[in-house]
Amino acid sequence: MKFAFILYGLQWALRITALRYPMFRARLKEKDFSVQIRVADNSMGRTFIFKGGRVSSRSGVRQDCDVDISVKSAELGAELMMPPVDHLKRIEAIKAFSLMAVGPDELVSWFSETVYMMQRAGWTWGTPVANGETRYVNNTNGGPVFVYQKAGKIVRLTPIDFDDDDAGTWTINARGKEFTPPRKSSISPHGLASKSIVYSKERNLYPMKRVDFDPNGDRNPQNRGVSGYERISWEEALNIVEAEIKRVNRSYGPGAILAARSSHHTWGNVGYYISAYNRFTNIIGATQTMLNPDSWEGWYWGAMHHYGHSMRNGAAEIYGQVEDCLQEAEMIVFWASDPEVTNGVYGSFEGTIRRQWAQELGIKMVHIDPYLNETAAFMGGKWIAPRPSTSPALAQAITHVWMTEGLYDKEYVQNRTTGFDKWQDYILGNDEEGVARTPEWAADETGVPARDIRALAREWASKKTYLAAGSMGTTLGGACRSATGAQWARAMICLMAMQGLGKPGINFGGLQFGAPIDYNFYFPGYAEGGFSGDLQNSGNAISLYQRMPHLISMNPTQQAVPRLKMPEAIMDGKAEGYPIDIRSIEGQFFPVNYPSPGHSKVKMMYKYGGSYIGTQPDSNRYVKMYQSDELECVIAQAIWHEGEVKFADIILPACTNFERWDIGEWANPGGYGYDWVGQLNHRVIGIQHKAIDPLGESKSDFEIFHAVCKRLGHGAYFTEGLTELDWVKRVFDASDLPRHISWKKFLKKGYFVVPPEPEASRPKTSYRWFAEGRKKDVPEPHPLPGSYGENFLDGLQTQSGKIEFESNSLKRYGNDPERPPLNKYIPAWEGIHTSDLFKKFPLQLFSPHARYSFHTKGDGKDSAINDITDHRREIDGYFYWIARISPSDAADRGIEENNLVKLYNDRGAVICAAHVTERVRPGMIHSRQASAVYDPIGKPGYSADRGGCINNLTPNRTQSLKTHSAAYNSCLIEVELWDGGSNIGHGAAEANNQIAGAGNALETAGQD
C-alpha cells in the first residue's frame, strides 16, 4: 500500500518539480520512453510514460515497457524509494538481485539520474560579487581558489581570503615570540596559472581520429606521432572504442587492454583517477599499469629497511615538528630539500612563512644540494654542493667524524638502535673492505672539501638539529631518485639514529609538515578512491567505503605492466618489476612478471593523460613503443594535445576540473600521504563548483567513462544511477562536514575551514615516544597491528622494533647485492666512476622537479608559465626548456647565456636554452624535468627534441635490479652549441629541420 502510494506520488513529484524548475522541465524533454516499477511477483506495479516533456503514469503490470524495474517485495520497494535514500539498503538490494533494472543502459541511467535530480532541482551555488560576476570555489593541485565567472567565462582565480565566519587560526609560542599564519590560503604558480591552461589553444576540444588509422583496414601504427588528425563525432569515436574493446577481448582474451595513467590528475574525490578511472578500468577488466613509488623511491626501497613505515612508503612520521622545531631546534640541515620549489607536493606555500619565522628566530641553516636551490637562495646559510649521486659518501664521512670524535648520542644508540658495532666497523674501515670513510675519502668522491664536512659534522652534533631530508623535509623525495637513491635515504635514517631522533629539537623536518591543525576531522583524501569501490587498489576499504556505501569494483584481470618497463613489455613481450605493497616491509620483495600466467599480452592501450615522454626515464623508449605494431589501437583520453597524446589513434577530449563538479580537500591525498594536510596552516575543504560548461565538445572523465560503459551495458553499474554532483553530495555526507556546516551553506559558499586544534590537545611530536621508550602516541594508524613484534604500539615496524643500522629485513631477503644489510657505499652505475662513458659524456645531468609547473601540468599548453624566464626562454618565438651550466663548463664549450645548446648522450638529445650560472657546480648540468612538450625535430624517438623532454636522456635502469625504481639523476651527458640539426649524437646533422634528412640520422641511431 505504502509502495503503491509512493509510486503514485513519484509521478506528481516529477510533474511539480518540472513546474517549478525550468532546468528540470528541459531534462524531461530529453527522452520519450516508458519505465515500469513493479513488485517482482507482479502483485503490483506502475508504469511511467515520458513523452514530449510530460510524465504520466498508470497502475498495473505490463510487458511492453522500455525499462523494467523490479523489487522483491512491496515493503522493500517502499523502503528503497522513500527519501532520503538509504544507500546501504539500496546496494544490498542490488547485490542480492532484490532490486533489478532491465532495459537499455542509456534509459536506465537517465531515469535514475532524473529521479535523483528532483532533490537537487532547487539547489543554488556561488556568491554574487561586483561587476556582475559570480564567485565559485575550486581546488587545484597547488591550492584552493576562488573562481570568478561572468557570462559563462572564467574571469580570474585567486587564493581564498578567509572571512569572519571562517574558523580561527592557531598560534605557536616560541622563544618569547608568537607566530600566527595569515588568514588566507596560498597558491602554487601552476594553480594560479590555471585559467591560462583552461583557455589554451592546445585543448582537445573534439574527438579526433588519426588520419591514417583505419580500424577496419590499415592501422599504420608506425605513423603514430606523425600523421595528424581529423575531427570525428562522439558517436564515431565511441563506436570505435566500443568495437576495439570488444574485438581485442574476443580475439586475445583477458589482459589485452592496457590502462595507463600518470601519477597525478586534476583535483577532486569523484573525478580523480583513483575514483572514476579505477572504477572504469576494473569494469572493463584492463591490465593495470604498476606504478613505481616515484615520489619515494629510495625511502621505499631503502630507508624503510632501517626504521619501518611501510604504510608511508618508507617516509617518516609528520606530527608536531613545526612547534618543536621553532621552540627547540638550533639548526636545520636541508639535504636535497627545496620546499620552496616542491611545495610539499600539494601544499602551495604554506610552509614558507614558517621558514621565515625560523629565519627570524636565528635558527642556523645549511643546504646540501649540487645546485644552490631556491630555498637556499631564500633562507641563506652555508651551501654545500656534492656531485650528484655522491651524497651517501658525504653522510658516511659525517658519521666517521661523529664516531672518531665521540660526537653522538651514545645512550640513544645503546637503547634505541641495533647493529651499531658492525656499522662502526664498516665506517672506520675495520671490516673486510678496510676503507675508512674519512672526510678526505669523501672529499674525493663528492667534491666537497674535507674541512667543510668536518665543520658540518661538528656543528650538527653540537646543536639540536633538524634534518630536512628530501622535498618534504620529513623525508620523501630529494636525492632518492638516482643509482644511490636508496643509499642516500638509508643514510638519512642512520644519521638521525646517532643524534637521537625524536628528542626535543632533533627530528626530521624543514617546517613543511607537522602544523598544529586538527588531524581527527574526517574528510577523505583522493587515494581513498572516491566512488571507485576499489578495495584492492585504493584506501577505500579503510573508512570511505563504510561511510559511503557503494558497489565494489574489482578487476578480474590479474596482470600488470611495470610502468618503467612498459616499452619492454610491449615491444619485447616481457618485463619484471616489484610492487608497491605497503602492508609490510617485505611486500616489495615479490617480483611481478608480465605477462601473467594465462593472460594475453597487451594489444590495445587506453591512455589517460599524456605525460610519459616528459616524465619517464629514457623516454624515447615510450615513443618507439607507441609506434610498435604490437599496439593495435591506442586511445587517449586527455585534456590537452600534448606529449604522447599525439601518438594515439583516437583522442577523447576531457575537460578540466573547472568544467565539472567535484569535491576535495586541499593537499589531502589520503593513502600513503596520510595526514599530509598537516603541512597546511588551515585545512580547507572545498566544493569544486562547475564554474563553466566544458569547452568545445569535451566532457568530464566521469562522463566519458560512463559513455563507454553504456556501450558495454555497464552504464548503470558505473554510476549507480548517480551524476557527478550526486556523488559530490555523497562524499560530503560521508565526511565530518555535516556536523559543522549544512549542505546548503557549503554548496553556496563553496568551502569550509576546519577549526584548529586547541593547544592542549595538539598531537605529540613525532618519535618523542620512541626516543623516550614509550608506546607510540602519534595519530597515525600505522603499522598494521601484526607488524608489532611484541606488544601493540611498542616500537617500530622493524624486526627489532628499533632503528637498525644493519637491516634485518634486507638480511632476511639476502637477495640483493645492491642493497646489502649495512648501507655500504656503492658508487653510481652511471657516474664519475664509469670511466669509458664518463670520458664520452663528462657532465652529470641533474634533473629535479620543475618549480613553476607541476609535472607536466602548467607547462606548454600556451600557459602563462611559459613566459617565466626561469621556466622557459623565448628565443626567436619558441619557448625553450632551460639548461643551467656553470661558467667554467660553459666557457670550455663556447656557450653563452641564451645560446641554444644540445644536451645529448647515446639515448637522445634535447635542445635547450643555456643559462650560465654560479648556482650550478662545475661538472654538471641542471635542467628540471617534466616538459609537457615533445617536439622531435626529425623522426620521433630517433631525433633531437626541441620541446625539452630531458627524460629522453635519463637511464632506464632501476636503482637496484631487484626494485622498480627510477634513477633519473645518475645520468651522463655532453653539451654543445646546437647546430640546428636533428641528430641525437655529437656534431652536425645531415639536414636542418627536415624530417627526410633526419631519416638518415635515424638509420645511424637505429644501428646502435
Partner: protein, 282 residues
C-alpha cells in the same frame, strides 16, 4: 587623503612569480572598460621580476626584485601623453586610458622605468594599473599582494605624510632614484640587488689536516680607513655586504689568536668570493 603605495622587500622575495601570474590572470582574456584592455597572451611583463646572482661558488646569493609601473607622482608619461591619455588619480594611481592612448607608442619610451609595454595588436601602450578596477570595487589590495606567498609585496593605503614616515623608519629606497619621478613603489633591502659583497673563507692546517677557522676577525679597509669588521663563521666564511660595484681596491685584514695575520688586496667590480685564506700558526 589616503593614497596607494607598494612596498617591496627584496629580502623576502623568492621569485614565486605569483605577482606576474596574477597580472597575467587578471588581464589576459579580460577587458576592464575604462581601466585596461586585454594583455597579450605572451611577451608582456607588466610586473617583471628581475634577478641578480652575486658572487661565485661556494658563496653565491640571489636577489629578486619585482618591478612594475611605479605610479610616479612626477610621471613623465603624463606629460608625454596626448589627449590626456594618462591620468593621475586622486588616490595616487596612474592610469593609461586604453582608448585615449591608442597609437601613442611614444609613451613606451617616455617611461624611464621601462614599465610601459606596447600592444602591437591593439596599438596601445599598457601598464600595470594597480588593479584599480578591483580597488574601486572594494578590494582591499591588488592581486599581486594578495597572492604573494612571502609578504614581500605589500600595498599600503595611507596618507602621504604617513608614507614619508614609513620610508624613513624602514629605510625604503627608489628603484631608479636617478630619474626623480617620485615613484609610489618603494623598496626595502635593495642592496641585495644593486650593491656588492666581498666574501671569503678562513682555514688553517694542523697535523696535515685542513679545517675551517671560526671566529677569525676580518677587518675591511679602504685606503687604510676601516669600514667594517666581522667574524668568520663555523665554516670559516665571512662576508661584507652593501659595497658599491666598481668601487676600486679594498684591503682585508684577517687575524685570529695563535695565527699570523693575513692581509688581502681586493679589487671590487662585482661581488667577489676571494677564496680560501690559510692562516699560519705563530
Amino acid at each position: 587623503m589616503k593614497k596607494w603605495n607598494l612596498l617591496i622587500d627584496v629580502a623576502k622575495c623568492h621569485n614565486s612569480q605569483n605577482c606576474f601570474l596574477s597580472v597575467a590572470d587578471e588581464y589576459q582574456g579580460n577587458t576592464h572598460p575604462g581601466y585596461a584592455a586585454e594583455m597579450p597572451r605572451h611577451g608582456h611583463r607588466w610586473i617583471d621580476t628581475k634577478k641578480k646572482e652575486r658572487g661565485q661558488a661556494p658563496m653565491v646569493d640571489v636577489a629578486y626584485v619585482s618591478t612594475m609601473c611605479m605610479h610616479c607622482d612626477d610621471a613623465p608619461c603624463i606629460f608625454a601623453a596626448k589627449n590626456n591619455a594618462v591620468k593621475k588619480r586622486d588616490d595616487g594611481i596612474v592610469i593609461i586610458d586604453p582608448k585615449l592612448s591608442k597609437g601613442q607608442k611614444h609613451l613606451v619610451d617616455a617611461c624611464p622605468h621601462g614599465a610601459i609595454w606596447w600592444n602591437e595588436e591593439l596599438e596601445i601602450p599598457q601598464h600595470w594599473n594597480f588593479d584599480a578596477h578591483l580597488l574601486d570595487n572594494g578590494w582591499k589590495e591588488p592581486r599581486c599582494a594578495q597572492a604573494c606567498p612571502t609578504g614581500a609585496l605589500k600595498a599600503l593605503h595611507v596618507e602621504d605624510s604617513e608614507m614619508e614616515k614609513i620610508k624613513e623608519e624602514q629605510n625604503l629606497e627608489e628603484f631608479n632614484p636617478q630619474f626623480k619621478t617620485k615613484p609610489r613603489v618603494h623598496y626595502k633591502n635593495l642592496h641585495l640587488y644593486n650593491k656588492c659583497f666581498i666574501g671569503g673563507t678562513v682555514v688553517f692546517v694542523e697535523n696535515a689536516t685542513e679545517d675551517c677557522l671560526e671566529d677569525a676577525n676580518i677587518v675591511l679597509k679602504k685606503e687604510d680607513e676601516k669600514l667594517d669588521e666581522v667574524k668568520s663563521d663555523t665554516f670559516g666564511e665571512f662576508k661584507f655586504d652593501g659595497l658599491d660595484p666598481n668601487s676600486g681596491s679594498y684591503q682585508l685584514e684577517i687575524t685570529h689568536d695563535g695565527f699570523l695575520g693575513l692581509s688581502v688586496e681586493v679589487e671590487l667590480e662585482e661581488s667577489i668570493y676571494t677564496g680560501v685564506h690559510t692562516m699560519q700558526a705563530r
